[in-house]
Structure formats: C-alpha cells, structure tokens
Amino acid sequence: MIDKLIESDQKEIQVVTFKLGIEEYATLITDVREVIVLQNCTRIPEAPHYVKGVINLRGNIIPVIDGKKRFNLETSEEYDSGEKRIMIMDTKQGTVGLIVDSVTGVVKLKIEDIEPPHLDLGEDKEIFWGVARHMDKLFILMNSQKSLSLDYESYGKEN
C-alpha cells in the first residue's frame, strides 16, 4: 500500500488522528466526512461483532463500527469520558460510522516517515497501511477501505 503511495508524486498526506484506548490511530482526511458526538445505536441482530448498530444521521441510516472491537483492543471497562466520537467515513461500500475514544487532530505525515507494519496481523494485514512517525508520536495508519468493510467474508473467522 505504502509503496503505491510513494509511487505517486505525493510527498505527504493529511490525516485525522484519533485515540482508541491508549493507542493513536490516523486515517486519510479524504475518507472522513464529518465527526459527530456519540449517540445511541440501534442494535442489529446477527451483525458482525464489531458493528455497534445503526444510527439515524439526518434521515440516513448509517452502520456504526466500534473501533476498539474492530482492532481487537481491550474493551472491558466501558467508560465514557465524554470525548467519544463517531467519525463518519466514506467507504466504497457506503458511509460508515467509526466509534473512537477521542479525535485528537489533523496532521500532515511525510510519506518517508511511514513504515509498513512489522506486525503479524494474519488475515487482517490489509486493514493497516503502516505506522507513521510524527514528532515524538507513532500513529497506526488505518486503511479505512479495508478496515471498515462490512463484508462478512473479509473479516475472517473471528466472529
């Protein structure tokens, strides 16, 4: 993925950064339509486990994914700091909401600062593009097209 970005003439990319637990993530700003405060989701029976439900955004029904569940992070203590947000994202499959613990900002990342993920992610390897250094922080660069897919087949057997 990253090599493709390098191939193009782009020197840097603009991303929205957000927190899931203590980890910091980033996603392409072009994929983010808007950020809204957390609202109640209507549960959908038999949905993938990381799908929190659907919300009604100005008359549009939008599925909402729980970010922490999607990336298999600790979710045992469900506290709401009041900073929880739903990032409304555009994907090939339509608009999807992503629940994050907080949205921290918008930064520009240099392509050269992005490294492929040296993690064994198994079947999920495509959901991240890599890890990016920025100042003294590390951001996990999310591939929203893959990670926000609602396709039952594409998220493996973890359900």
């Binding site: 493709k4 072009t30 209507t42 959908i44 029976p45 799908v51 029904i61 599925p63 609602l150």
Partner: protein
C-alpha cells in the same frame, strides 16, 4: 365570500394550467402551423386569467390578459408565430410561475420585479386595441336627431304609432355594457323599428357610451312602436345590470321609473351529481391512510374477540369487515399512486431551455409516462433526474459542429424512458452524445489521489465510472452555469439510495451514455406492525401478518422439543423473536401470556412471539447494508416519528 378556502384549489389548478401552457407552447414551437394548439393555449390562458382575477391576484390576471392579447393577435393572423414570440410567451409563463410561487409561499401576490417592463415589451410586440383598458370616449358622440329622422317620427305618429325615446342606464360596474345594449336592442327589435341609437351601434361596439351623473353607460334608443311603455320597460328591465330605464313618448310627457326588486333567500339540502374526478388534499389522504391503519388494528382486535366469543353470526360479520377493510386499504394505497408524468412533464421545458442556452439541437423522447409510482417518490426523484438530464445536455451531447465532425445527426437525442419490471421501476436517461471518457475520470481520480497508476489496468470501465459518484468529483473541464458545480452524481446517488434504489451509468465513447435509475415500485412505503421485543422495536411488514393473538402460556405445547400452539385446528410452530434475534434482557418468559403474531409466507405459517404490540403504521423503508445482518433477518430500516430507528424484519428468513 371567503376566498381563502379556494386558495388551495386555485393553486393546484393553476399549477396544472401553467404546466399545460408550457407543454402546449413547446408543441406549438414544433408545429407553429397547428392552429388547434394555439386555441388550446388561448383557452387555458383565458381560464387562468379568470381564476386569477377571481382570487384578486390582479398582477397575475393583468399579465395573463396581456399574454392573451398577444395570443389573440396570433389567432387572428395579425402577427405570425416566430421564435421571438415563442420565447416571449415562455418568458411570460415564467413570470406567472414566479407570481405563483409567491402565492404558494405567502398566500398572497407580491410585487415581482420585471413584470411591468415585460408587459411593456409585450405591448410593443402586440399593439392590441384593448377595449377594456381604453378610456371611454364620448366627446364625438352626436346626440341630435337628423332632420330625416324627425320626419320619420312625424310620419309614424300620423300612422298611429307612438315613437319613443328610451334611455337605458347601464350599471357602472357592468363589465360588458356593449353586450347589455345588444340584449336590449334585440328585445326592442321585436317590438318595433329602432331607427336610431345614440351612440351608434359601431360606437357601442368599441365601448363608447353617453355619460351622465348616474352612469357612464347611457344609451338612447329611438323606436317606432305600438307597444305600451310599461311593457317595454318591463322587458328591458329583465336584462341584468340595467340600472334604470326612462321612456319618453315623443310629444308626450317624460316618465321615469325606479327599479325595486326583492331578495329571495332559502336554504335546502340537495342531492347532486359531481364530475368524475375529485381533488383531494394530500394531507387528508395521509389522514385517511392513518385511519385505515387504525381500522386495521381494530379489525384485528375484532377478529380476536370473535374467536373468543365464537358466535357464528359474529364470525360472519367479522370476516366480512376483515375483507372490506383489506379492500379499503388496497384502494387507499392505490390512491397514493400517481403517473410518473407528473415529474416528466416538467422536462420538455427544461430540455428546451438548456439546449437553447447551450445552442445545441436536442430531440427529447419521453416514454412510459403512464407508469405509476408512489406520490412520495415524485418529489424525491425530480431533483436527481434534473441533474442527470443537465449532465446529459451539458457534458453528454456535443455541439453541432462536433456532431457533424463525428458523422452524427446534427440533432442530438435525449430519451427519458420509464418502465416497470417485476417489483421495480426503471427510469433510463439515454443520450447519443460523446459518452463519458473513462480516461478523463481516471486522470481526475489520479489527480485526487483516489487511484494509483498501477491499478489502472485492473479496473474495469464500470469501476472507473463509479468514481463519478464520489462527493465533489466532477469531470467538467469548465464549470458552466448548468452543471459541474461540485454537487454532482454523488448527490444523485445519495438521493436514490435513500429511496431504496440504485443508479447505474453505462457509456460508450462516441455513442452515448445511459443512466439507469432503479426504484422499488412496491414502494418505499408500506404498512407495518411495530412490535417491541425486550427493549427493542421492530417492524413486521403487514402483508405477511395474518393476525395477532394472545394466548395463555399453558396453551403452548411441545413437539420434539419445539414449541407449538394448536390454533384453529392447526399446529403452528412458535418462534421466539427474543431468542432468534438475541435480544438482551428479554422477559417474554416471565409473563403468563404470550403475544403471538401469526405470520404467513407462502405455505408456512408461524407464530412469532413478541413482548408487546405497539401499533400499526405506515413506514418508509430504507436499505441496510446486506452484510450487516448475516442471517438476513433484517430487510431494511425505518425511522419513527421520534427519530428512533426500527429494524424491519425479513419475514421470509425469519420463519424458515
């Protein structure tokens, strides 16, 4: 008389008339020699004027009146139809539409800029002698009798006739005093010989009258007759709008009469016959739909009670009510269907205007106008369609020169076709223009960093085409007034998707583009039973529901570890929705009664247990990503009045 009640009707009919005017004018533009079209336009304009004036919308009335004058000149052949005139008429209709819009918005006519100037312009094109607006001139009316006339009078007297001078005072408010004169004249002709009128018949025809303090429409008739003055007086007074009549026997004394009439007032109920169609306020229709909903709920209750009481006579009545209620529902739902023509009819005008503006020749072909769709979809699909049509005309169709170069017919073709297929309605917008250049889309996508050069090969044409639906994606090289303003196909897609439909683009370079919109015809709207399962709300499509019953828990039997009930001699399996849907913290088990919704799909009859029936209501179906519900238990989503979401259950998979 309260005209407020009439406003709604006025607006409805006027909108229709305006649409009609536009359409007929379009036809006339194509066939300027068709006299019947001109007559049609004239007739409608005339009706329009009458209605406007009745409502007191004088700006609209005056404007229409002036347009009518122009039309009259065309009808009489005094001027011939050319493009300038057609454009002028269109302009006039536009102004009327603007006025209409202010009326719709405010209930009143407001000043609209440019109308006075436009009327002036009209008057220059159509220098019409307007008897209504012309000042009434009487300076040159000759009131004296000529000597040969006096001679004739003397002769008549000698022969035993009594010549009379009859002064007829016509009411000031009278709109067509000339016609009243004509009527008086006709009456008098039967009584004797009219040898003179002041003013002359010609003068009367051009609205010239004598004036006096009582009226501005005074006419004198000189008649040689044997009839008594009283009788003549009565005859003349039988004509409406005659204020006063004075009859002077020449060489006799002058008499004057006053008119007194009494009012007759009586009221009575009456039976009547009305015309074949009635207009119904959409709100009333919605109310009706809701009431039918209530009716159905109560019908359900009734049949339930009937079961319990089990009286054969009551059973009969109940069954009958059930079937009638169903029929009512069918009819009511059908009332909501309107021909798609209601949307299509605005496009000829749109296409004409845009193509004129872009200086392109376009032949618009419309098919399938009679296809019916739900009323609620009409307004929703108009905007996307307008957008697609604009795109086709702006980006799709080439200029004349380009077409000639490409060896195509100079006149481009735009087809707008609707047809129904199974449960779907397809709307196709087909142009024979240059097609969409996927290379351009690719370049643009590359520019925006949406695609990488590597991927070019692996993408199919239609995949590349999909980029058109992304927000802010526009391939227009230059932004015109018409399209390419940033709101593009993504808006179209969002709108259509919200209606549970799909959009698809197919294009062949140099040959043309086809945009296909597919919409559900069984509607985005359906009747559903809202039920509660635990804390969650679900909607069950009503057309699958047989009835709702409540049974004591002890009537639940078990066959091979599966719950069933024995109901009306049938063994019906019970499906517990809470278990099926994994509803958290559900307490169906804890009650001593079970509420069951009997669902029938094809051969299968299943009783579904719910916590509570909320109500039955009309819901708007919205799609849900298919992958969200792996077992396909959910067929869609609807939003309730309070913004809450209810999932619509897929009955077919549920009862399997």
């Amino acid at each position: 008389m309260n005209t407020d009640n009439l406003l709604g009707l006025f607006i409805d009919e006027s909108k229709e008339n305006l649409q009609f005017l536009n359409n007929k004018l379009l036809e006339l533009e194509k066939k300027p020699e068709d006299f019947s079209l001109l007559n049609e336009i004239f007739r409608i304009a005339h009706t329009f004027k009458g209605m406007s004036k009745t409502m007191g919308f004088n700006r609209m009335g005056d404007l229409t009146h002036n347009l009518e004058n122009l039309l009259e000149l065309l009808r009489s052949g005094q001027i011939t139809i050319d493009e300038k005139i057609i454009t002028c008429l269109f302009k006039g209709f536009d102004k009327l539409e603007i006025l209409m819009a202010t009326i719709i918005e405010t209930g009143n006519e407001t000043e609209c800029p440019g109308i006075k100037e436009f009327i002036k312009e009209l008057k220059e094109i159509a220098p019409f002698n307007d008897p209504e607006n012309e000042p009434e001139i009487q300076t040159d009316i000759n009131t004296s009798l000529a000597s040969y006339e006096l001679l004739a009078i003397e002769e008549a007297i000698a022969q035993g006739y009594s010549p009379k001078e009859i002064s007829v005072y016509i009411e000031n408010e009278c709109v067509m005093p000339g016609v009243r004169c004509y009527m008086v004249n006709s009456l008098l002709e039967n009584q004797g010989e009219i040898f003179k009128t002041i003013p002359t018949v010609e003068e009367i025809e051009s609205n010239k009258f004598l004036t006096c303090p009582q009226t501005k429409h005074l006419v004198k008739f000189f008649i040689i007759t044997k009839t008594e003055s009283d009788i003549i007086m009565q005859k003349i007074l039988s004509v409406s709008e005659i204020e006063k009549v004075e009859i002077l026997d020449i060489k006799d004394s002058k008499k004057s009469y006053d008119i007194q009439e009494k009012e007759s007032e009586k009221n009575k109920q009456s039976s009547k016959i009305t015309s074949h169609t009635v207009r119904v306020n959409a709100e009333r229709l919605d109310n009706l739909v809701n009431l039918v909903g209530e009716l159905i709920i109560n019908k359900t209750r009734l049949s339930q009670l009937t079961q319990e009481i089990n009286n054969p006579e009551l059973n009969g009545v109940s069954a009958y009510i059930e079937s009638i209620t169903g029929e009512i529902q069918d009819i009511v739902m059908n009332l909501r269907m309107v021909p798609i023509e209601q949307v299509f009819s605005r496009f000829p005008r749109l296409v004409r205007d845009i193509s004129k503006e872009m200086d392109k020749d376009v032949n618009l072909i419309i098919q399938g106008q009679e296809i019916e769709i739900d009323r609620s979809l009409i307004d929703e699909i108009a905007e996307p369609l307008v957008h697609i049509i604009r795109n086709a005309l702006d980006h799709g169709l080439e200029t004349r020169e380009e077409r000639i170069k490409a060896g195509k017919k100079v006149k481009g073709t735009l087809q707008l076709i609707a047809h129904s297929e199974y449960n779907k309605i397809l709307i196709k917008i087909i142009d024979d223009g240059k097609g969409i250049d996927t290379e351009k889309i690719y370049q643009k996508a590359l520019e925006k960093g949406l695609i990488l050069p590597k991927d070019r090969e692996s993408r199919t044409e239609s995949e590349i085409m999909e980029y058109l639906f992304l927000p802010g994606f526009s391939t227009a090289e230059k932004t015109t007034d018409l399209s390419g303003r940033g709101v593009g196909m993504d808006v179209v897609k969002t709108k259509i998707t919200a209606l549970n439909g799909t959009v698809n683009i197919k294009s062949e370079k140099g040959i043309g583009t086809t945009v296909t919109i597919t919409l559900p015809s069984t509607l985005a709207i359906t009747q559903a039973l809202l039920v509660e399962v635990g804390e969650e709300t679900y909607a069950l499509p009503l057309n699958y529901i047989n009835e709702v019953i409540e049974i004591p828990i002890n009537q639940v039997k078990h066959i091979q570890n599966k719950e069933v009930i024995n109901f009306r001699g049938c063994v019906i399996p019970i499906k517990r929705l809470d278990e099926l849907l994994n509803v958290p913290e559900c307490s169906i088990f804890n009650t001593d009664k079970l509420t069951l919704v009997l669902i029938q799909s094809e051969e299968n009859l299943v009783a579904v247990s719910v916590s509570k029936i909320i109500n039955q209501q009309e819901i708007v179906i919205k799609t849900l990503n298919k992958n969200l519900s792996s077992k396909n238990y959910v067929s869609g989503v609807t939003t309730l009045g309070n913004g809450q979401i209810a999932l619509i259950l897929n009955v077919n998979t549920l009862i399997r």
